[in-house]
């Protein structure tokens, strides 16, 4: 075992094979479908937000009967309003658009780049594998948030920059999973058979290996999306999130000052609640899929 693999293994050897994971291996269960339902609801709400009968998230809906804003939650303002009498509920839904986009773009980017690198290095091995694996180790040896801080502070803070930065962070964990899975399958009989039949490398990779690598990566994608959404929130708290659009992180930060928390906790608690449910659903669904397909290694 080379020294590179040694270090790499130390970083990722967080074995998750708990007893219950073995028990539930072949069953998704109702809780999983509940999570999926929630995810579908929140994604639909985010996608359809402009056409849903929601209040304008940026309008100052001052209501003389209610006195001075912020208004507490009521039938008119489901989640209350903020200091500028903006509806927290519709702001949270519109925030979901940006947060989910960040999560999705980030993990898609990480999957494509990391997956490609991982499969190639796992399939061809040799020096490229060493270099790529070392690059993964370097990436993993940064605390992710610090790297995100570094990049976002150097570049502009557009939606795409933030998403791709977080996607960049996903490359190493995804790549390592893809590499490990590829190595596991590269010597299996069906690959050897394909090779013996004269299949070329691209065909073996795409037709034989990719379908096997995609499944564990799919489980990682859900977990990774949750991580990306949370990371975006963390960046928001450091003042480094998307500049223009409102995200969940920025909404929470907006109500997180001492005075706001004291007088109108709902401004930050409402988005926290929605964010929490979404992350919970993503984590749970990801875990279940991972257990279902019996994926051993995760590195997120």
């Amino acid at each position: 075992m080379s020294e590179i693999e040694l270090v790499a293994d130390e970083i990722t050897n967080q074995d998750d094979a708990s007893p219950e994971a073995e028990l539930i291996t072949r069953r998704l269960g109702w809780a999983f479908w509940l999570c999926v339902c929630w995810l579908v609801v929140i994604v639909l709400a985010a996608v359809l937000a402009p056409w849903l009968p929601l209040k304008d998230p940026n309008a100052n809906l001052v209501n003389r009967d209610l006195g001075r804003p912020p208004y507490s939650p009521s039938s008119e303002f489901w989640f209350g309003s903020d200091q500028d009498a903006r509806d927290v509920f519709s702001r949270t839904i519109f925030g979901a658009r940006v947060s989910l986009t960040v999560g999705f773009v980030a993990i898609a980017f990480g999957m494509v780049i990391g997956g490609t690198l991982g499969i190639l290095s796992g399939y061809f091995r040799g020096w490229w594998d060493r270099i790529i694996s070392f690059a993964f180790v370097v990436l993993l040896s940064f605390p992710a948030l610090v790297l995100a801080i570094l990049i976002t502070s150097l570049l502009d803070r557009g939606l795409m920059t933030i998403s791709l930065t977080l996607g960049f962070l996903a490359i190493a964990p995804v790549g390592r999973l893809a590499r490990a899975t590829t190595i596991q399958y590269a010597e299996r009989e069906f690959v050897v058979a394909a090779r013996t039949l004269g299949a070329r490398h691209p065909r073996i990779i795409i037709r034989e290996l990719l379908p096997n690598v995609v499944i564990p990566m799919g489980a990682l994608a859900l977990l990774g999306m949750a991580v990306a959404i949370v990371a975006e929130g963390g960046l928001a708290f450091l003042g480094l999130s998307v500049q223009k659009e409102e995200t969940w992180g920025k909404l929470i930060l907006l109500g997180a000052g001492s005075r706001d928390l004291e007088k109108s906790p709902w401004i930050s608690m409402a988005p926290i609640f929605i964010l929490f449910l979404t992350v919970l659903a993503l984590n749970f669904a990801g875990d279940k899929i991972r257990a279902y397909f019996d994926v051993k290694e995760t590195a997120l």
């Binding site: 967080q14 040896s141 610090v146 150097l154 929130g233 450091l238 004291e262 926290i272």
Partner: protein, 400 residues
């Protein structure tokens, strides 16, 4: 022995690549000169580009070309005009060099440019000489006129000897090292507190959970670890602040650096808990699994049949052999906790490294960011090595 040499070499290589990456990103993606001087640095910005073959001048940003003369050979220039110098001259210049007229002397086909303009510079229609001087001075002070590898080597040599260089803003004062010296102990204290708290929560919790394995209590506690892990640390921080600092007023809302140490520890409790709780949940899951595995071993049965009480079996026999993966993850997790501590520090206004990063980013003071990134990476590597050492001490089989 060989293994350790490899391990150390690996760590050094890793730190080198991390620092090179960071340094490179800072200098290539960022603009150090602008960070130091602000808009003055822009006086030497390229406003137009010249093509290498011809001497065409391409105006951009609405910059008028009228004041610029494109030179094929050295010519007489009218005052107020600028000069585009090509590489064919004596000067080791790029073709896009544009210099103000008064710094250029032309003698019989030989073009020379005054010292204040360094090669590669470009100036459109003459900035004030003292501005140029300022730029040149700053470049000299921060070694920005040197090529990137040399600057990196210089920085590295300084860093290794404990000098992290001058700050960009506030024109270099105080040195980054002083700032780090002030902030680092607080962050370390916060992290240590968090790890102690996390361990103090996780060990009893996992023992309790494992002793009632797959019981309803155990299932509930596993479920609650899941909830805690799903709660982002900033959200947890806000909730803790709301409940314990604002509603219950048990803890102060913010940190005060001038208070005595004991009350500082008290003030750090909430930020530490913010970091510790998710970590505790991770540790609990891990320890519980390992404990359950250990409890099924023969020597546990043996101990029980000798009449050792359940409590003693748990504490004396089962706990120690179950700690191996906990030790590993404890170390690895430190990296993740550093990220969490940055956020906890901002929420509770603890002036540690986290807030230093935030401030430095806001003022684009990259030497501070670089220093902190390096400290964190070094800490990360060190912790990993320490974990390795501890691991091989506990379990000699690891030393292959």
């Amino acid at each position: 022995m060989n293994y350790w040499l490899q391990r150390i070499g690996m760590s050094v290589l890793l730190l080198l690549s991390v620092s090179a990456l960071t340094f490179g990103a800072m200098n290539v993606l960022g603009d150090p000169l602008f960070n130091i001087l602000g808009p003055v640095a822009r006086t030497k910005d390229v406003r137009g580009t010249a093509q290498t073959d011809g001497y065409a001048y391409q105006a951009s940003k609405g910059n008028p070309t009228a004041g610029l003369v494109v030179l094929d050979e050295a010519d007489e220039l009218a005052s107020g005009q600028a000069l585009l110098v090509s590489t064919d001259d004596e000067l080791p210049l790029r073709t896009d060099t544009i210099a103000p007229l008064d710094s250029v002397t032309v003698e019989g086909g030989l073009v020379s440019i005054a010292d204040t303009v360094s090669p590669g510079d470009s100036v459109v229609n003459g900035p004030e000489p003292e501005q140029l001087f300022k730029v040149a001075q700053a470049e000299q002070e921060f070694h920005l006129d040197k090529p990137l590898p040399e600057r990196y080597a210089r920085w590295l040599a300084d860093f290794v000897t404990g000098d992290m260089g001058p700050q960009f803003s506030k024109t270099g004062e105080p040195p980054v090292t002083d700032l780090i010296k002030e902030r680092l102990p607080r962050s370390v204290m916060l992290l240590v507190m968090a790890q102690i708290l996390a361990t103090a929560i996780a060990i009893p919790w996992s023992l309790w959970s494992a002793s009632k394995a797959n019981n309803i209590v155990d299932k509930l506690s596993t479920f609650s670890t899941f909830l805690i892990i799903a709660l982002p640390n900033f959200a947890l921080g806000v909730i803790l602040k709301y409940v314990f600092a604002i509603k219950l007023s048990w803890f102060p809302q913010t940190f005060n650096a001038s208070d005595p140490l004991l009350s500082q520890v008290w003030q750090m409790f909430l930020p530490a808990l913010t970091i510790a709780l998710p970590a505790a949940a991770v540790y609990q899951r891990l320890l519980r699994t390992d404990l359950i595995t250990t409890l099924q071993e023969d020597f546990i049965l043996m101990a029980r049949s000798k009449g050792v009480s359940r409590r003693n079996v748990l504490f004396r026999h089962a706990l120690r052999p179950s700690l191996f993966s906990f030790v590993t993850v404890f170390g690895i997790n430190t990296g993740a906790l550093i990220g969490g501590s940055l956020i906890a520090e901002t929420i509770f206004r603890v002036p540690g490294l986290g807030s230093a990063v935030v401030e430095a980013v806001a003022t684009e003071d990259f030497p501070i960011v670089l220093a902190i990134v390096m400290i964190i990476a070094t800490a990360f590597v060190l912790v990993n090595v320490v974990v390795d050492v501890v691991y091989s001490l506990i379990d000699p089989r690891v030393r292959r």
